[in-house]
């Protein structure tokens, strides 16, 4: 009687399939193959590995590019072939253009970027932190800053040239302005991004005010501040190009405008390749420094 009234539920056995080492290697593969893979399927797997498709797409684009410029599909000689651009870069590395080869021009631009960026950040970071800490400072600075914030740094070029002429100062000025804005915003917001639980934890462990600032807040604001530095550096790089396009006697932006004036698209594209490489190196370098400076920062990398 008793056994009839109670309902016995039989749980299915818990399936434990923790992957072995070998299995964990193939986990990323698309659909599980039930049979031994056919030739086509194994080909597909090979294609998916080693970024084969990426190489394929680059090769396709380069081929298209080559044929477009060889057969002048869009008319005219506005697009040099990829090989011509490699040659052009090689030529510009050995031959001087307005007293500098292409590497020296790049260095001239980078030099300005670093000076302007260092000045901009040196002002913006302390100011941002001070504004975050002090209500009165925020009330004074923020409205004026909000007037300037929506103006693109590039729109300052004309005024900068009027004030400082075509020399170094005007370009550095633009970079200072360009790197100032994102840096200030980030360091202003950085204090608020610190997890309040961290303060509580520190306080619970008996930290005094000084330790809270030095050991919690300081490290808490590092990631956001560093992100600001990163953004402002890449913004500074595009600002310097704009400034050199408008007026200058050296720099990579000047090089491409020279290519335009001399009607040589090869110089322009060569300059653009160098710009892309430099920008990529800057990002790469900053990411590595970031990993060294604040290794606890985690976010999604694109």
């Amino acid at each position: 009687m008793e056994t009839d009234s109670t309902i016995v539920v039989e749980l299915p056995p818990v399936q434990e399939n923790t992957p072995t080492f070998l299995e964990s290697l193939v986990v990323e593969l698309p659909p599980v193959q039930e049979n031994t893979p056919t030739f086509l399927e194994s080909l597909k797997i090979i294609l998916m590995r080693f970024h084969f498709l990426s190489f394929l797409s680059i090769a396709l684009v380069l081929t298209f590019w080559h044929f477009i410029s060889v057969y002048k599909i869009f008319g005219g000689t506005f697009l040099p072939t990829p090989w011509a651009i490699v040659q052009e870069i090689w030529r510009l590395m050995h031959q001087e253009l307005i007293g500098k080869n292409i590497l020296e021009h790049t260095w001239a631009s980078l030099h300005r970027v670093f000076i302007g960026w260092a000045i901009g950040c040196a002002i913006a970071i302390p100011l941002g932190i001070f504004m975050a800490l002090n209500d009165f400072a925020r009330a004074i600075v923020k409205p004026v800053f909000d007037i300037f914030k929506p103006m693109p740094p590039i729109s300052w070029i004309s005024l900068a040239i009027l004030w400082f002429g075509l020399g170094e100062e005007s370009k550095v000025f633009i970079i200072v302005i360009g790197s100032f804005v994102p840096c200030l915003i980030n360091s202003f917001n950085s204090l608020r991004l610190v997890d309040p639980a961290l303060y509580d934890a520190a306080r619970m462990l008996g930290a005094n005010r000084r330790q809270e600032i030095m050991e919690v807040a300081f490290f808490g604001i590092l990631p956001a501040t560093f992100a600001g530095l990163q953004i402002s550096l890449s913004l500074a790089w595009s600002c310097v190009l704009a400034a050199e396009l408008v007026g200058g006697r050296s720099g990579i932006g000047f090089l491409i405008i020279l290519g335009m004036n001399q009607y040589k698209p090869a110089i322009i594209v060569a300059g653009m390749v160098v710009i892309a490489l430099t920008a990529w190196l800057i990002t790469f370098g900053m990411e590595h420094i970031e990993k060294l400076v604040c290794p606890w920062r985690r976010d999604i990398k694109v």
């Binding site: 698309p30 998916m48 970024h51 498709l53 990426s54 190489f55 394929l56 797409s57 680059i58 684009v61 869009f74 506005f78 209500d135 009165f136 925020r138 009330a139 004074i140 600075v141 923020k142 409205p143 004026v144 007037i147 300037f148 914030k149 929506p150 103006m151 693109p152 740094p153 590039i154 729109s155 300052w156 070029i157 004309s158 005024l159 040239i161 009027l162 004030w163 790089w237 595009s238 190009l241 704009a242 396009l245 408008v246 932006g253 491409i256 405008i257 290519g259 335009m260 698209p265 322009i268 594209v269 300059g271 653009m272 710009i275 892309a276 920008a279 990529w280 990002t283 999604i300 694109v302």
Partner: protein
Amino acid sequence: MKKKLLTRKRLLQLISALSIVAFFAVWQIIVDFEIVPNELLATPLQVWKLLIVKLYNPNPDGALLTTHIWVSVQEALLGYLLSLAIGIPLGLLMGWYYVIEEMARPLFEVIRPIPGVAWIPLTIFWFGIGISGKIFIIWLSGVVPCVINSFVGVRMTNPTLIQMARTYGGSNWDIFRKICIPSALPMVFGALQIALACCWTSLVAAELVAADNGLGFLITMGRRFVRPDMIELGMVMVGLTGFIVGLIIDRIEKKLLAGIRR
């Protein structure tokens, strides 16, 4: 109980207002007392006067202020909409389909680090100084944040949801359409404002180098004629118009997508 007349919040607001007034006053005074010569910096009053004059007098740069604004806004919006139309679907597809990601990624990685400004000389070769070249530059700078944000949005989809859909027999396309896209939407909306800011910046750059009207052209002309009031008017208008366009986009976004947004 008597209400406190000057609370801390009121005091801070007062200080903010005073700070703006002081800013303009100092600006006016340093020029009036010739601490800074008038050829280098125009006073706020001069800028205001020029603003009124430019509303009915096309001289000396050949167009009314409203024309400049309209041309700039038109170019910026066209480029912006194009970059949304191409960047967002591309980013979403790149986030979900392996083949598309592998094919598009190297090209995107090559184009991404080149600032829109650097494209200007080449674009002038290809398109001349007309509107199409500017739209191309604006499109290029706007498309990057669109792709990145929608890509990240799809990648950040909660894997549990995808697994659940798979368990219920959803096809790849179904999962993409019904789970990945809705969950990516907040990131995509984030891209709207970022892309607008990028577009607006590169618009000014494009017009600084080559144009025949537009706000950037107004700034360039101010430099040519050594008229700081014209430069400053241009800058203020660029800032103001960008701000207003941003507000409008924000408003539209909130109206249209009120139901979807979390």
